[in-house]
Symmetry: C2
Subunit: 220 residues, 2 copies
């Protein structure tokens, strides 16, 4: 009987492409994979990060979306090189898509590459994109039970941004309660509470990026 | 060469089980499949619906979650029969899971069954659970670009609940802008704007349920 070849494991294939992506990106550049629910504020975070780091750190962005170039348009308006990946209905980015996007960017002119994943707190978790760190963005408006209910993403995160803290006075949940919930799932990732509306806490986020870039390059 | 059987289409299989679920539920009962991002407020909507309809409409709930019984516990506290499905990491409910849950409920004592899907605006869209209507819950805090960016869920919805409208004064987006965005994707589904915190608009939601139940039974 003829042996039929089977791609046994989509994740295994993805992992091997992720290694190639990591090699292609090299050691001078920091790559972040941003995960969140729809509407947690990833794009706004990227817009404001680009504005704040202009002239200091050269950013590039890969935007993952089911459909539209709405997010890429917003980021491009900040003067940042951006590549849009439309997944055409698929619920997460895969390493092969990032690999295909890389030639669109002049990598030797990039210090930090931010990959904005599809808005989904579940499926992207399993797919290594060749990033140095996964960053989960959660917004205070989503409540304090999300770390327990969606543990995969929170466990995998190397940093957790809590966005929309300016709305705390109007919500039935506090930043402190959310911090406590996160700590039951992930004690190691720094939790960076901020508001993209008021700018509160934003410096802590920028310092985290600076330090992560420094640490990456120190390994060279 | 031996022919190797292949389950060609997971969705096809799901669809056939969904027909069985629909038959098992019968025509006296209305079944709603609630879809949303994590943290849009599905569970709170169910809690308050149960409280408001007590003594008028007999509710039962199936809770879909990656992990925990947090949501089921909240719903059970309202005195409503509830079955928890833990998907163990899977990103959506399937009809076979609903089928397995049905024997836990006394269906002849249920007027409306609410199925709370896993918090995910993408993957659950494709899976018919045997429901009469898909209801998308979106919160104003998620912004007005979600209908365009996650069109599948919004197209599939027979009703769209816009939650958290009490926060409108503090957000860069208005309920009217979100309504306009929804109308570009789905002109037919009623858009029910409400706040589970203040109760504003909640009567419109309750009336929608009453009318949907009446219409279902009128088809008998």
């Amino acid at each position: 009987m003829k042996r039929i070849p089977i791609v046994a494991n989509v994740l295994e294939y993805n992992q091997s492409v992720a290694h190639d992506v990591r090699r292609a990106m090299g050691s001078h550049m920091l790559a972040l994979n941003l995960l969140s629910s729809p509407g947690a504020g990833k794009t706004t975070l990227i817009e404001q990060t680009a504005a704040a780091l202009k002239g200091e750190i050269r950013l590039a962005v890969i935007e993952g979306d089911l459909a539209t170039t709405l997010d890429a348009d917003r980021v491009a308006a900040q003067g940042v090189p951006v590549v849009q990946i439309n997944t055409d209905g698929s619920c997460h980015l895969e390493a092969r898509q990032v690999m295909a996007a890389l030639p669109q960017l002049r990598l030797d002119h990039v210090d930090v590459l931010i990959i904005e994943n599809v808005g989904n707190l579940i499926c992207p978790t399993e797919f290594d994109l060749g990033e140095d760190a996964k960053v989960v963005v959660t917004s205070l408006t989503e409540g304090d039970d999300k770390p327990l209910k969606y543990p995969g993403a929170f466990v995998a995160a190397q940093a957790i941004v809590v966005n929309k803290i300016d709305l705390e006075p109007y919500l039935p949940v506090s930043t402190q309660e959310l911090r406590t919930a996160i700590a039951t799932i992930n004690r190691h990732a720094p939790v960076i509470a901020l508001s993209c509306t008021t700018g509160a806490g934003f410096d802590v986020w920028l310092d985290w990026i600076r330090e992560a870039l420094r640490a990456k390059r120190a390994k060279m």
